[in-house]
Symmetry: C2
Subunit: 504 residues, 2 copies
């Protein structure tokens, strides 16, 4: 481990944060850009992480009464048009399918067989799912419908970035329909809290639950709720949203039901989603200048065992010892499932091997050579705090679930402290502008963090701050302190402080 | 259960097989057509079945060393062109994306911002994955690559049918790259056997493992292997394929590696896939004139408990008894996991409720009323053989895993017998034509079944039979009897009998 003085990732966060982010993803082999504009390839390590995240979320959805289904990839253009704000929000960047065949012309394949009506690749599925629900719902007995879909969606973004903003991404979208407004609002909030639980307790990523302003809400929603997290460049990441759609989409899609007292009523709907964007948030919450750092509860591998082979003579013994240990550890339960333990027997230099696991973010690395075996001990390196220690095999085996829990909690505590340290109450326009104005022109990404300031709720103030500082209201926190005040930008009254920040 | 004399599905298999198939799917709420041409909606019951199938297959893939990844939905047209047979096979029916924006013109949304190069929605991913592999593979140390993808794909079929042939479908596609031809062939066969295991031991669907003829193989493959199953109309369904691609795609995508002795070599690749088509096969293997019949190992629900409420007085007691039973059964292990038990407390007529579960194919239905409770017994109905009996609660609880295993085995045995009863060795052209010519002109779907006949391997014979009878060689069985003979159509020698059939 002679290299330890240097960092494994170049540049470091301080040198060039955006480039550091790309390099962490590359070094961890999470994903890479593909030759298809804006579309990424999620590599096995990244996909395995996504599978673990999916597994936890899927169980949470089912435990709250939802079932999965699958709806078409394509949406007829006429469906998109049904909801005015919705079409405004999504028509500007979508993949449009216009032909159903390729034909050879002058030695080149060109589109032929034009479609009667163009189709778009779904950017989100409210309209097509609404159409199906209108067929499924006749009476109040058919409600609620509580359905989720795991799917790919496409939004033709101009500037893309691995996980954070890609033309195609993977997500889940829940779509529910209810007989009453109250029930739909309750569902919207319930799912926001599911996301909060997942982000904080599994991803170890602290989030603020809040409501979006009119200017930032989902096109077609009555109210959008969100979870917002602070990244290490102190920008905000919207990590999940839950929308109360009122009767907007029910009216657009004609989802009506016969009520218990015989009247025809429109249903009340919701939708809620999180995506592979969460992986970008995970990277930027915990990673350091040596690469990815993974919270144990969703890590593809909890423990990497590295046999240290010094000579031919002891090689077989070391390998056997490591195999036995792997098998013993794999029978131990952590978080309700067997520990995920990998034995890295690749024939490469020890340093390269160790750094590989550091960069991949595996919570615990064990190095085991003949001397360790003789002492009945292990060399344990923790990824979260970089600590290294010799520990007796028996003690490690007895304590490993506890150590992983410590790592999980430590990552959350560290991230929470970072957010608290970079969140400031601000009461004047000058302080606000200073907070968000970079001190160093060469490092425009360095700025204050989250500003908790009063806000009059007007679009003028939001527009001004967006234009002047690229700062927006990230959310109106649900857990506010209830302190009324004066908006420092307009002098008008404000009901509570809101979260202002730059954002992804 | 007074209706039992009538069938739950109209028409019956004998009356109109194709329509019976659609009605079984409708009655079981597996899926339905969407307003998007050729695209289906997989409803929660159908999707839950797919999730169970995915779970088993995914574990099989991981147990054989594969990992999941995700590749782009879109493929540039120039990639498709790289492999001549491949483009020939897929260009004729694909969704072509030509624009990245919709614009309002004269009150109508029309495509705008044309793409420089059109993209197609993946019909299969050999070309785009090949491109990525060419970047990932440098040396023999990078091989093998053993990756699988769960994804949606699109083939613009003109005539579609739920599950069997839809424009969009869900599938998995494994793509592997190897240093040697032998290793790639071994992989191709290994995955064919994984599919055989899954089809027979989980879906209870007997299959014949075989090789496709030149005329029926995958566009771009050197050899295509398949599993073929017989449906209840005696047609064959290709249920899964595994392709040895030789160096065709490695050359098209330039997947090269530095060998151990320093030379540059092309890799050898394979691909293999099964899709939601399997659900169509499942429906047509086991269902009867009362609806779907599910093999326990993949059924979303193993047991449905129906409380029989005769009066207000006993209602609470019956419900409590059923809840206790549900909880007791849910703690019993079947096939390595807890039993999946549903308690149907809906306030609808008992007959309607019971028929609902019959049509959904749930393996065991329990009906429990005050008299059963008094006798400490249950009324048990088995979906596979329609048997009904009173059984003591204690006996049922003790025997339920065994009963489910019996059901699973019974379904397989019944399907195997059906295939054997409808498979005939044929040695003359006249017998062959008689076998496949419908006896009744009004029922063109009624014909012989599988004909085991000799075949000279020529395209002429295949073309003739396709044209005359719509019959093709389904596969050259891997487990043949080694009996050489004479092709009854050409008089030329034949190495073994092959499977001829009409097919989906």
């Amino acid at each position: 481990m002679a290299k330890e003085a240097k960092t494994a990732i170049t540049p470091t966060r301080a040198q060039d944060y955006p480039e550091w982010y790309q390099q962490v993803i590359k070094a961890a082999e999470l994903a890479e850009n593909s030759p298809v504009r804006g579309c990424m390839v999620i590599k096995p390590w990244g996909y395995s992480l996504w599978e673990n995240m999916q597994g936890v979320l899927d169980k949470m959805f089912k435990d709250t009464g939802h079932r999965n289904a699958y709806f078409p990839l394509f949406i007829p253009v006429s469906y998109l048009e049904k909801e005015a704000e919705h079409v405004e929000g999504f028509a500007k960047e979508c993949a449009v399918v216009t032909h159903s065949r390729l034909e050879l012309k002058d030695g080149k394949l060109v589109p032929s067989s034009p479609l009667e009506e163009p189709l778009i690749v779904r950017p989100t599925s409210e309209t097509i799912i609404g159409e199906m629900y209108s067929r499924w719902v006749q009476s109040y007995r058919d409600l609620p419908i509580l359905v989720n879909q795991w799917a790919n969606v496409v939004r033709w973004e101009m500037r893309t970035r691995l996980f954070l903003r890609t033309a195609e991404f993977l997500w889940q979208e829940g779509h529910t329909a209810h007989a009453t407004k109250e029930e739909a609002i309750k569902e919207t909030n319930k799912m926001l809290r599911v996301y909060e639980d997942f982000a904080q307790n599994y991803m170890a990523m602290p989030v603020i639950c809040g409501q979006k302003t009119e200017g930032e809400k989902f096109p077609g929603a009555v109210t959008t709720y969100c979870i917002e997290a602070m990244m290490q460049d102190r920008k905000a990441l919207q990590a999940g949203t839950s929308h109360f759609l009122g009767q907007n989409f029910a009216k657009a899609s004609n989802i009506r039901y016969l009520s218990e007292n015989g009247s025809q009523e429109y249903a009340w709907t919701t939708s809620w989603g999180v995506s592979t964007r969460l992986i970008g948030g995970l990277v930027m919450t915990h990673s350091d200048d040596n690469g990815l750092v993974l919270p144990p509860r969703i890590a593809p591998t909890h423990i990497a065992i590295l046999p240290i082979i010094r000579d031919e003579a002891s090689a077989a013994e070391v390998m056997q010892y490591c195999k036995n240990l792997q098998s013993e550890l794999s029978s131990i339960c952590y978080d309700g499932k067997p520990l995920r333990v990998e034995l890295d027997a690749r024939d490469i230099r020890g340093g390269e091997k160790a750094w590989g696991w550091v960069k991949k973010g595996v919570p615990i690395r064990l190095e085991i050579g003949p001397r360790d075996i003789a002492n009945n001990s292990l060399f344990m390196a923790r990824r979260d705090d970089g600590s290294k220690q010799a520990i007796s095999r028996a003690e490690f085996v007895a304590k490993v679930p506890e150590i992983l829990t410590q790592i999980q909690n430590n990552l959350f505590a560290k991230a929470l402290k970072y957010r608290q340290d970079n969140t400031v109450k601000i009461d004047t326009k000058k302080d606000f502008y200073d907070f968000f104005t970079p001190q160093n022109e060469k490092k425009p990404e360095i700025h204050g963090g989250f500003a908790m300031a009063h806000f009059d709720g007007s679009a003028e103030v939001e527009d001004m701050l967006r234009q002047d500082l690229k700062v927006t209201v990230r959310c109106i926190p649900l857990e506010g302190d209830g302190e009324e005040g004066i908006c420092p930008f307009s002098g008008r009254p404000s009901k509570q402080r809101v979260v202002f920040a730059k954002s992804y």
